[in-house]
């Protein structure tokens, strides 16, 4: 058929254009996997090694010895779970308030929330550190790890969008039936926002899981290291164990990747559902 012939030509042309870019961009990931199986010096070998070696488990073992990586993974899980649950709760409440009610100063509140999106994190983190560590004396606590990053502007905007795209008739119908406002939020709005909440939870969990700068600053006690911080601490040692770091990175990333790929349908649906309708 002429139609499919034409489309095939187009597709081939696009592939030829995009393939080199995709390679340029996937290559580092491949190298990460390769490095994680090499002895420490491998990364600096004068030849570029493109295939796996056999030191993966050795690297893991070294790393566990150098830094209590399993414990750090545990801390990461606890922080990420609590952070995600609390943050979804708070951002959805704020989003509900911004979507449903008119109040004095609402445009200002919206502007501030939006404005903070532009701030680079490394600019905010220093005064935040000063406040939490010095003024509140909360360094090396769970609260310090979890609470300061809680308020997520994009999350609030996301939830607001999801709520304001829900047909108002639904809420009017509930009002006519005498359902209280907080029950409307809890039993009508929240269940309907489920796809958005799912996508937001994934994003928030990943953000917490991958967060490096804040836990690095606030946790100086080895017992409160998260996994990325534990990995990073290896760089500070006299002999930097690159193989161990790469192996740890694989360990850190692999479960997320698997879970995420399993959930990808929900994630795409949620992004779509969240941002409109």
């Amino acid at each position: 058929m002429s139609k499919s012939r034409r489309e095939r030509t187009q597709t081939i042309a696009l592939h030829l254009l995009l393939l080199p870019l995709a390679l340029l961009w996937l290559f580092p990931l491949w190298m990460m996997l390769v490095f994680s199986t090499m002895p420490d010096y491998g990364i600096f070998s004068p030849n570029i090694e493109l295939w796996f070696s056999d030191q993966f488990f050795a690297n893991i073992a070294n790393m566990q010895a150098d830094t209590d990586f399993l414990r750090a993974l545990g801390v990461s899980v606890i922080v990420a779970v609590i952070y995600t649950a609390l943050s979804v709760f708070l951002t959805s409440m704020a989003g509900w308030a911004l979507a449903r009610y008119e109040f004095v100063g609402k445009p200002l509140v919206l502007a501030i929330i939006l404005g903070t999106i532009t701030l680079p994190y490394f600019v905010v983190v220093i005064p935040q550190f000063v406040m939490v560590a010095r003024d509140f004396k909360l360094a090396n606590t769970w609260i310090a790890l979890i609470v300061p990053p809680l308020f997520n502007s994009l999350g609030v905007l996301f939830m607001r969008q999801a709520f304001s795209m829900m047909p108002n008739d639904l809420f009017d119908a509930a009002r006519v039936e005498g359902v209280k406002e907080w029950k409307i939020y809890l039993f009508v709005a929240m269940p309907l926002a489920r796809p958005t909440i799912a996508a937001l939870s994934i994003i928030l969990f990943l953000a917490s899981w991958n967060n490096y700068l804040w836990p690095l600053l606030i946790s100086t006690d080895r017992a409160m290291f998260t996994a990325p911080v534990a990995l990073g601490s290896l760089i500070g040692l006299t002999k930097v164990s690159w193989g161990g770091i790469m192996a740890g990175a694989v360990l850190l990333t692999a479960p997320m990747l698997v879970v995420f790929l399993l959930l990808q349908r929900h994630f795409i649906a949620g992004i779509a559902a969240g941002a409109i309708k």
Partner: protein
């Protein structure tokens, strides 16, 4: 069950008045339809009765009690929304029972009411389904069921059929009529579709720009419209209007001359002391009231432009010699085609006359 009354109800959005002092009474058990073009305020009025919109001045009473400051849930009404407004994440059964459960209603009573509503609407087989598994007509039925479950004193319907296709609309219309006869509850129904108004209402309220143009029984409005707006709005195809001029006005009738129609003159049995020779008037003739040539009081030669033969009925779209488009409805007439010449007659007994302001002259 209850009567509903509006006394000088107005509504402003900011400084813009939307409803200009509407007063009307809905008797206990009556089926009243608010009808009008979009933007006439009919939905706003309904939402004010429901308590979903504040009223600016005036008084709304339901069952003899003033409800201006009463929460929607306490007004004893139930509402059916245009979008159905079913909770998508609940089954039909949960949709029906949601309001009762949330208000701590007795479980057995809730169960009983849901069963009853489902039986009335014959949706028992659907109880376990979710809204998205239902067809448009089934959704509409569930939405009505949710209203029935409340056992309200009055039902409010906000354009409940406008999201359905033509065929289903006819079917659901008949079902709603049946339901009203069965329950006997007061119903207030908003629509922009004059056919729904004609077929459902005990009383039609025609609204335009936040004002009542006319109230009355369907055939009353059809046979005896108070003004040109109502005459044109009620009836399908629309009434035809021809511009005319008063030639002579006497104590027993008025002689008018059609403008641009070759000085065609028609005596109308209208006594309107205010009219003077030269005043502009409008003559109205319904599509089905054009007679055969010579059968009426005035013959009008036409050229057929488009002929639609629907089987039992034909619609002829024709132009006068001066180009005005007219619609003619004919039963069992299948011969006219494009470019055919056609002569129709106007019978003054079946024609309507309106003054320059659009008011009916009787």
């Amino acid at each position: 069950m209850a009567e509903v009354s509006l006394r000088n109800v107005t509504k402003r959005f900011g400084a813009v008045p939307i409803i200009h002092g509407v007063s009307l009474d809905v008797a206990d058990g009556e089926f009243v339809v608010f009808v009008g073009p979009s933007g006439c305020g009919k939905s706003t009025l309904l939402r004010m009765i429901a308590g979903l919109e504040d009223i600016s001045t005036g008084e709304i009473g339901i069952g003899g009690r003033t409800v201006n400051d009463v929460e929607p849930a306490e007004r004893g009404i139930a509402m059916v929304f245009q979008t159905y407004a079913l909770y998508p994440h609940m089954t039909v059964e949960q949709n029906l029972s949601f309001g009762l459960r949330m208000n701590g209603n007795d479980r057995a009573d809730t169960e009983r009411r849901v069963r009853r509503a489902a039986a009335i609407l014959q949706i028992e087989p659907l109880l376990a389904r979710r809204p998205k598994q239902l067809s448009g007509g089934q959704r509409q039925r569930v939405a009505i069921g949710r209203a029935i479950v409340r056992e309200p004193q009055a039902f409010l319907f906000d354009e409940p059929l406008s999201n359905l296709d033509a065929e289903l609309r006819v079917q659901m219309r008949v079902e709603i009529a049946r339901l009203h006869k069965e329950l006997g509850t007061t119903m207030i129904y908003v629509t922009h579709d004059q056919t729904e108004a004609m077929t459902l209402a005990d009383k039609i309220v025609v609204l335009r720009e936040g004002r009542i143009e006319q109230m009355g029984a369907p055939l009353e409005l059809y046979d005896d419209p108070a003004n040109q707006f109502v005459a044109g709005f009620i009836g399908s195809p629309k009434m035809n209007f021809l511009a005319g001029e008063v030639v002579q006005n006497g104590p027993t009738g008025t002689l008018i001359e059609l403008i641009n129609q070759n000085k065609a003159r028609l005596p109308m049995p209208v006594v309107a002391p205010g009219l003077r020779a030269g005043d502009r008037v409008t003559l109205g003739v319904r599509p089905e009231h054009w007679g055969q040539a010579g059968a009426g009081d005035l013959d009008l030669p036409l050229a057929v432009d488009v002929a639609e033969h629907l089987g039992s009925t034909s619609y002829l779209y024709a132009n006068t010699k001066s180009g005005e488009p007219l619609v003619i409805e004919r039963e069992e007439s299948r011969h006219e085609t494009r470019r055919d010449a056609l002569v129709v007659s106007i019978s003054s007994a079946k024609a309507f006359l309106f003054d320059a302001a659009g008011q009916r002259l009787r």
